[in-house]
């Protein structure tokens, strides 16, 4: 082993920013970045009398195509904390998965229930370290020993602490509903009504959001996850006979048949000798 004067630091992992400059240069020269799956999205959260209600739509888009009509945007972080995610689907899913795992270890180390601010600090530190390259915009909500909390987390690592929050491409539509109808000390039913109205505003007025409404209600008693609480976009017509395509429907342009049997030779031989 040769000794060198320079200490060799093993790579610690994580994002290397080396290629970012090259990518921006290529983009300026006209090359197109590959499309990644974004969640478009309307995500919201509000604080009501007994806790926090989170809401999300269920459309995932890849450019102009809807690639998932019923995806789950409300992610689990801890038994008393959930997080809605907007932005790049891979980023939101992986960053919430990672923080959820870190929170388990934290709970073992402290012997206590996780606090929302702990999840918040873990998320924002990670996002800031990656300087916005991790495109995750989150609405984080939960109830812990210090009470109900709601935060909005931006991809560059800044956070807001709010009584009601919206994020995603449908955030303006949803915020208009909140701004006109929110008040303090809402009951659970009123809160659920306002949150689903806000998501519906996003679903119907924003192209990046659509399909169904998911809700998650967190109180100090526990968490209630209402998947597909509302389905305002059902498939209204499906052909009862199904679809069959008779031969002749599609025009055949050219035919090429390759016989595979020509390439396989079956030889009769002696059995292998056993020693």
């Amino acid at each position: 082993m040769t000794k060198s004067n320079v200490m060799e630091v093993p790579p610690k992992g994580g994002f290397t920013f080396d290629l970012c400059r090259r990518n921006t240069m290529l983009q300026q020269q006209g090359a197109k970045l590959p499309k990644f799956r974004k969640t478009g999205t309307t995500i919201v959260g509000l604080i009501f009398k007994d806790g926090v209600i989170l809401g999300a739509d269920t459309r995932a888009t890849e450019g102009e195509i809807v690639c998932d009509k019923n995806c789950e945007k409300i992610h689990y972080l801890a038994p008393n904390i959930s997080c809605c995610g907007a932005g790049t689907a891979a980023d939101t899913e992986n960053v919430t998965d990672m923080v959820s795992s870190q929170l388990v270890l934290h709970r073992y180390a402290t012997g206590r229930e996780s606090r929302v601010v702990t999840a918040l600090t873990m998320l924002k530190s990670h996002l800031f370290r990656y300087q916005g390259q991790v495109s995750a915009a989150l609405v984080l909500g939960g109830v812990d020993v210090t009470g109900p909390h709601l935060h909005a987390v931006y991809p560059h690592g800044s956070t807001d602490t709010l009584p009601f929050a919206t994020m995603g491409s449908g955030s303006l539509a949803a915020m208009s509903v909140f701004e006109s109808r929110y008040k303090e000390n809402l009951t659970k039913e009123e809160g659920m009504e306002i949150v689903s109205a806000a998501i519906c505003a996003g679903i119907f007025n924003d192209l990046g959001s659509g399909s169904n409404v998911d809700l998650c209600i967190i109180t100090k008693e526990g968490k209630e996850y209402l998947r597909n609480y509302q389905q305002p976009n059902p498939r209204s017509y499906s052909r009862s006979k199904g679809y069959d395509f008779k031969i002749g429907h599609t025009a055949v342009l050219s035919t090429k048949i390759t016989q595979l049997r020509q390439h396989v030779q079956v030889l009769e031989g002696d059995a292998m000798e056993e020693e």
Binding site: D97, M98, S101, V104, L105, Y108, A109
Partner: protein, 235 residues
Amino acid sequence: MGDSQYSFSLTTFSPSGKLVQIEYALMAVGAGQTSLGIKASNGVVIATEKKLPSILVDEASINKIQSLTPNIGVVYSGMGPDSRVLVRKSRKQAQTYQRLYQEPIPLSQLVRETAAVMQEFTQSGGVRPFGVSLLMAGFDDNGPQLYQVDPSGSYFSWKASAIGKNVSNAKTFLEKRYSDDMELEDAIHTAILTLKEGFEGQISGKNIEIGIIDEKRVFKVLTPAEVEDYLAEVE
């Protein structure tokens, strides 16, 4: 491992082919307080003595039995601080497995990974072997299981085992009392009786710790009050 000035291992072979450091580590385990585990047909129980150095120590602050995952618990005999390092590493390994496979880690896998860590420390530069033996108990898709891991990194699956000070008496006692169709409640009573055998002084809910896992697959450490109830049943 192996950074700083020590790239050579401190654990070296003796002329007779033994690794003396590991023998000494096992002696450190043998000087530690007795721990034992019993696998029943519908669960596992692990227990340990909790002798405190002085009556002034707040015994509620000491937890010798720890959870590694919701369905796996561990107890040690030997050096407490060494066990804390292993518990921390094992918890992290369990989480890494969970993140990769989206399912809880089976006990045999976690035992294998923990044992691999302990073996690493017998063959790396500048470190010494761990001075603990672990008894890991869990309930997963393969049913209830009990494993013992030694400072050398070797591990065994046991129906019932004891480690620490009173090992030979405890194991003889367990051999006599153990039966394959034993249920968890019987196993807890047997565990208490085994601890009582070598116990100096008056046994109570405050100087032993018991951890159990049943078919509900949630590992829990019994409260001193619950331990007292079982002690009363045994009398």
